[in-house]
Symmetry: C2
Subunit: 551 residues, 2 copies
């Protein structure tokens, strides 16, 4: 049996799993391994900083189904920490690979640069935010460990961590096993049957059943399963913000984004009046419940997540979401005519936008215009802040065309995540919505967009500070330094930037952006300091309350 | 007994310990606590991102002796992770304070935004990189916990972590105890005496004794102690890069920076030929030993660190560095005339710099000119890369005027650290030396310099990529996007920037910088892609070797 090397085993495994771009920042402990990536058919995307690389890998994985992040030891791995934590929170499958000092240095406890305290510190820290974390040692054991790590990543849709000391990279190891059975979770058949039977009874007996889907439907690739359930049952379906575009919004069963008291479209009444609510991969968080303004009777709820089903207040373990949806579809009675509940009407933002010359921009008018501008060739990546709420109101016919962190909510995410999305979907145009405070977090990755020639169109909503916090709890800390955002592309060496203050300026900017469809474009939209979407105004008040008091 | 609140207790304790500026980024879980800082005599410095705030707090602590970092839960705390890890590695006393969700949310395990997996995740991760980590719960126990945390921070010169759920901020608690005894480590008298006796015997018998000091001398404030030992003994003294400016470089005993084969001045021969070498707070790392090119016989070594002494190959525990130096000073024979070893000659860079018009800048010529430019009103903050080596060659008469991470070596550190240094020493001018690759890591904090009106003078050495890595191990990943660095101040809303290509342009830029002594100034120095200090050329080759092989 011919042998390979650890570096090649890792690189080839990732490539075989469909990864075409790898994100990272070089550092001396990872340069040998980076060479293996450079020698591979994959493209190494070296960003300006590791946090940016991590967010980019997150965005890439959401489109591609898997991503890889390659960093150096200590200064690299720990700078990416928040991005990987976000991927863990939001179930994004990402393989984090960190270089590390030579094993002999570790074994002799030699003080090497980038070391924090002791040699297993980074591994221990990463155990907190990954599904599986391992330090590779000898070549003989490496293939099994890499296989286990990659299986765990795909199975859990969560990051895994592989630490590769420099001396291990070129150690010999066995070739990949040709017909290896991937380790996957399976349902307990009896638990599955009992859960499906109970759920079907509730749903079949209901007068006003409804479905509420969340991001797990998208992450576990269950869009088709879901569609079959909807087609058979005729149920209306709402989504969380994170689940948005898990179903095309022109689907006749689609009723909008549900978020408790802040819901859009007809979703609010249909979901809250449902006498049997089937939640699929939708987590009941402060965000998805509109800051706990949701009025849903737990006695009407069936909540299926990746490997657990909750009905009313009891749980079924070892029930895999896909199995549950498929078996439940079979057990539901067929209702081709959804006449026994409210006729679903897809939510659609006013699209008859006529610009008023010299009228100063407002947030509402911006989103009205954006809704008209967006088409099915565009992917939307929304940051945290008012843009996550405005973005949720955009009409999206295209499946898998909306991206945001609606649970972890890390500001600054969207700009580098947009880099990852753009590289994973080069035939689309990535539209990034970001506030000024968020942009300041990760601004350097605008340079990476330009460097890697993304065609991203980046809207910077400039309200001179942290608006969402002003609405929650104001103070001098919510003011930030005023930058000239539209001039950033120029300073970063390419792309195009323009500042917009009025509605007619926005028209010109959009025309210019259309023309420059192969280029990174920044459009800065200047709005009033306290201007917001209606939703954010409500949310701010509510979040303030729940940050301080139990609802 | 009147009561106070948890928030006030924390804020007042920090203020009483000499903190005047607090660094952080707001987020909803920490806004109430931030209000307590806003209401205090301390100034809240809200940077653009948490990594920058962390580095700034690190720089501030190195000048001020203690600093505080205030961040929000999850997205904030985990973004600062690398900066805090660096402070742990380099023994920088920093109090990390993170907001957290309401305790009722934690107790009911409610899924709140910014949560990663479970509610103790961040606390567990921070345990890895802090001396003490605690989540505050009820007011009654809070004062003791805060006291313990602050004592641990000062005692260990390492970060500590305090997590403050929003509901705890305004809970009532007791006032600070007026005459509280601070918990401090003490020497075991017998171990101390034995260690001192053995060390004094070796040193008093030696023909060519020498002293080698590292960063702990500075961090533990032992400069005066050290001076007394030197005055009595007459020993020559070298420093690590991190220990540089722990002693004024015009001191007659100063012999330069020792770093094995890359040493500067007369340090190399004196240290390596010493028949008794007294290392005080100097760690034997890959950096301090010049990539293990040091030739020091362990049988001649006495190595005293914060609370441990190693002589030859045996250890004395429970021996505090300060006690050891003081007792050793008493035990050493007095040698007012240091005639029995090489006459120490302070290293001094060529200072007869005459610019050649239109001559393209080189790294060496830049450092020659910088050495002439620097004076005792300036503090020097060096990033990792060629600038840490060039910076080490600068002549510094002023004590505590040189700052760098010579062990953790995180690129991008110096720009935000310079913000902290500048705010801690407003009567000085902070000079930052940073490469282009490093600047891209933390560029947003240039905006913070401008926002808080620092008078920092920032030299950006632009060689279009990661030079140190090119020299260690080149590959396409060492190329970065070319930015217009000199135009950054303008885009970030203030300050002054200028690009320098030739020696006469540098003169004009320095004149302009002198004039703008109250303003943030960026001077971009364009040099050839492979141009470096002589030291870096040697280091690159050596590091490459030790990254892959045990020396």
């Amino acid at each position: 049996m011919t042998l390979t090397t650890v570096g090649k085993y890792l690189v080839n495994s990732l490539h075989d799993m469909g990864i075409k771009h790898v994100f990272g920042v070089p550092g001396d402990y990872v340069l040998d391994l980076m060479d293996r990536f450079v020698d591979s058919p994959m493209k190494l995307i070296n960003t300006s900083c590791e946090l940016g690389a991590g967010y980019a890998a997150d965005g890439y994985a959401r489109v591609n189904g898997l991503s890889a992040l390659v960093v150096t030891y200590g200064v690299g791995g720990l700078s990416a920490f928040n991005a990987v934590a976000g991927a863990y929170a939001e179930r994004v499958p990402m393989v984090v690979i960190s270089g590390a000092p030579h094993s002999k240095m570790r074994n002799s406890q030699t003080m090497m640069h980038h070391l924090v305290g002791h040699y297993t510190m980074q591994l221990e820290a990463y155990r907190q935010i990954t599904e599986y974390a391992v330090m590779l040692s000898d070549g003989a054991s490496v293939p099994d460990k890499i296989d286990e790590a990659l299986d765990a990543c795909l199975r859990s849709k969560r990051p895994v961590y592989i630490e590769v000391p420099v001396d291990v990279v070129d150690q010999l190891c066995r070739q990949p096993l040709p017909n290896r059975q991937k380790s996957a979770l399976v349902s307990n058949p009896d638990a599955l049957n009992e859960a499906v039977r109970e759920a079907a009874e509730m749903l079949n007996a209901a007068k006003k059943p409804a479905v509420f889907i969340g991001m797990e439907i998208r992450r576990f690739g269950l869009g088709e399963c879901l569609m079959q359930l909807l087609e058979k049952s005729g149920y209306p379906v709402a989504t969380t913000i994170g689940g948005k575009s898990g179903i095309p919004e022109n689907h006749p069963h689609y009723i909008g984004v549900y978020q408790g008291g802040f819901s859009l479209g007809t979703a609010h009444d249909i979901i809250e009046e449902a006498d049997a609510l089937l939640c699929l991969g939708a987590w009941m968080t402060d965000m998805t419940t509109g800051g706990f303004t949701a009025h849903i009777d737990p006695n009407h709820m069936i909540s299926a997540n990746s490997e657990i089903v909750k009905i009313k207040h009891h749980f079924y373990n070892q029930v895999i979401l896909k199995d549950f949806i498929e078996h439940l579809t079979n057990a539901l009675k067929s209702s081709p005519e959804p006449d026994h509940f409210h006729t679903p009407t897809p939510y659609k933002y006013n699209s008859n936008f006529i610009p008023t010359p010299q009228k100063m921009m407002t947030v509402k008018r911006f989103f009205e215009r954006l809704n008209q501008f967006l088409d099915n060739t565009m992917l939307l990546v929304c940051d945290t802040g008012d843009v996550i709420f405005g973005g949720a109101e955009m009409y999206r016919e295209q499946k898998e065309s909306h991206f945001s962190q609606d649970y972890y909510l890390s500001i600054g995410y969207s700009l580098p995540a947009g880099l990852g999305v753009s590289l994973a979907a080069p035939d689309k145009r990535t539209v990034v919505l970001i506030g000024d405070g968020a942009l300041q977090m990760t601004v350097q990755e605008l340079g990476s967009h330009i460097r890697f020639n993304t065609n991203a169109l980046i809207f910077v909503l400039n309200n001179n500070g942290y608006l969402i916090e002003r609405l929650i709890h104001d103070g001098p800390y919510n003011e930030i330094q005023t930058w000239q955002y539209a001039r950033l592309p120029d300073v970063f060496g390419g792309g195009y930037g323009v500042k917009v203050r009025t509605e007619d300026e926005l028209e010109l900017a959009l025309q210019e952006a259309k023309k420059r469809s192969g280029q990174t474009v920044v459009i800065e939209i200047v709005v009033d300091k306290m201007d917001s979407t209606d939703t954010l105004a409500l949310v701010g008040e509510r979040v303030r309350k729940i940050s301080n008091n139990h609802p």
